[in-house]
Symmetry: C2
Subunit: 353 residues, 2 copies
């Protein structure tokens, strides 16, 4: 098990654009595809199964959605060319929640098909794309059917906001000012959810089958560590500004808590070991440090959080105002301190017993 | 092979509403589900396969989309209760073209799941829903994987407008005034497409697997027979009105021909026999006769044709004007003559050789 730290996005670079920001996401996907390639090589020691079933959980929508699965198909093609194997039939399952925009992704499928058919020894009729609407905290596939499950930046979403948060007023996530029960309630919800995720997938993945997962996480075991919590404390501040200006009711802020959790490495390892269906083959972490570029940072947070915030707080004009205030707080903060994002990349094998 | 004629919608009934019109569609689906039930009984002589794979091709979108697959699940549940079989895992594949609205359908999946889990001995984890974006004139599934393929009112759509139509000016489909080559070009395109459909499905369906198909068709072998062609001749007339009023260019009408074909029983039987992969187990036909109710008839034609017409001719206001004129022509016609719709329902088995 290799443990590597990659620091990027420490910038100060004027040319730092939104494209550069999505480059980071891309770097994560590319790192994870390196794992996928290794994994597929392992799965193909004596040829692939006749029909190879590959999954992307939390595929989202937009141009990058099909990137992972098309890269997977190309990797299979390359391995077959290199090892002189017959190309298997490949089923590609794209999963996300039922209210995800699958239409946009599906409309891009024909173009992706034509591109794939022109290279890597892949031919028409070799691969099939399916959409899978549903939460990955429920069963999605038949028993012992999937060979490789991939998920990038989705597993930090909890199945729900923890129930017993108590009085977390003025906060929207774990914070230094939260009562002691809050971080335990979040950690407990994460244990429940990630354990359930592993158990459900253990039923669906063939013995010897693999999972390659990228998770938003934290590098420090203290969940109230400022470097990781500050981005949500600053968002709570921006909401408080809105309340001070009479643009939102305090009750609406008090009733809002984020339904996600960023675990530390030990939590992830413990849960995998305790649940017991999968062995942990590889573990790698990536730290992104933000020193300035409040605008890009704000955009990247907004891109992820807006649908959920808008669902609770309403209109686009409210969001515009909220993120104007957020960006100011982020700028203040970055002028004195850094903000960290941290990712864990793991590769797991379904045990035979 | 039973051959039955059912005449309905001959109305003259003032209470005949759009709901009544969709009742007819429903009757067709219910008839086809009776075949599906028989078929599933046959497939389950000594229990179901561990994982039963069921397909609906051309599922469209909207509230009725999930009707067929949920009924299939209920039928499987009932058979298992009656025969004391273990309920298999069931994969439900919903197929349509990539630009179909899958989002609306997917958003209804959670509700359907809860409903199904409350009856017929079906439990959580028994069934899985997948969207399959693609033309059924291409491969959609891995080899020898599907147990039952269902399709209702989709297989009259051709893969393209026939290429060699010659001069079909003033018409938009086969008509008495079309040059002799037109009906042969349509019939030839249908032979090519339906043969290809059968060959592709023969690769995907397990030996002994089944297909239940409902096709828009005609009861008379002459493809220019007025009873079946008049609805498109009247639509061509309405387009001509629009042209006379300067609302559309004549070239736009001349370049438009409908990409579908309604075969007669003999054509369907001949193609199935000639292609050779499937045996024809059952054959049934339904004739709908329209004697008045031009408004309902117009609505039903518009519901099916609008997306394609709008794609060629444009805006909603154009469509409103076109179908106002169409309804007048239909009313004139129905005051003197009837219009027929005709459907063929077939059940096929994948041969073992």
């Amino acid at each position: 098990m290799a443990e590597v730290k990659v620091v990027s996005m420490n910038s100060g670079d004027d040319e730092c654009s939104y494209a550069n920001n999505s480059k980071v996401q891309n770097t994560l996907v590319m790192k994870s595809l390196a794992y996928v390639e290794e994994t597929l090589m392992d799965l193909a020691t004596s040829g692939f199964p006749e029909c190879l079933k590959l999954v992307d959980l939390g595929c989202a929508s937009g141009p990058n959605t099909l990137l992972v699965v098309t890269e997977m198909v190309k990797i299979v093609g390359k391995i077959c060319q290199k090892k002189n194997f017959a190309v298997p039939e490949i089923e590609l399952f794209l999963n996300d929640l039922p209210d995800n925009d699958f239409n946009t992704t599906f409309q891009m499928v024909p173009q992706i098909f034509s591109e794939l058919e022109n290279g890597e020894g892949i031919k028409y009729g070799n691969f099939f794309v399916f959409g899978v609407p549903g939460s990955f905290y429920r069963r999605l596939f038949p028993s012992k059917s999937m060979h490789l499950v991939h998920s990038s930046c989705s597993l930090h979403w909890l199945s729900q906001v923890p129930e017993k948060l108590g009085n977390n007023k003025g906060n929207i996530y774990i914070s230094k000012t939260s009562p002691p029960g809050v971080s335990e309630a979040y950690a407990e919800q994460y244990r429940t959810d990630f354990s359930k995720f592993l158990r459900l997938r253990s039923e669906e993945v063939v013995p010897g089958g693999r999972m390659v997962l990228t998770l938003a996480a934290r590098s420090i075991s203290d969940p109230t560590s400022k470097e990781f919590c500050c981005k949500w404390e600053l968002l709570a501040k921006a909401l408080q500004d809105m309340s001070d200006e009479g643009l939102v009711q305090n009750e609406d802020i008090d009733s809002f808590n984020l339904p996600f959790y960023t675990p530390c490495a030990e939590e992830v390892k413990d849960i995998v070991q305790y649940e017991g269906s999968f062995s942990l083959d590889r573990f790698e972490s990536h730290e992104l440090v933000w020193k300035d570029n409040e605008n890009i940072f704000t955009k990247s947070v907004r891109a992820v959080m807006e649908p959920m915030l808008a669902n609770h707080f309403g209109t686009k004009s409210f969001m515009d105002k909220l993120f104007q205030r957020y960006e100011m707080h982020v700028a203040d903060h970055l002028s004195e301190e850094k903000i960290k994002s941290f990712y864990i990349l793991i590769s797991l094998t379904r045990k035979f017993v």
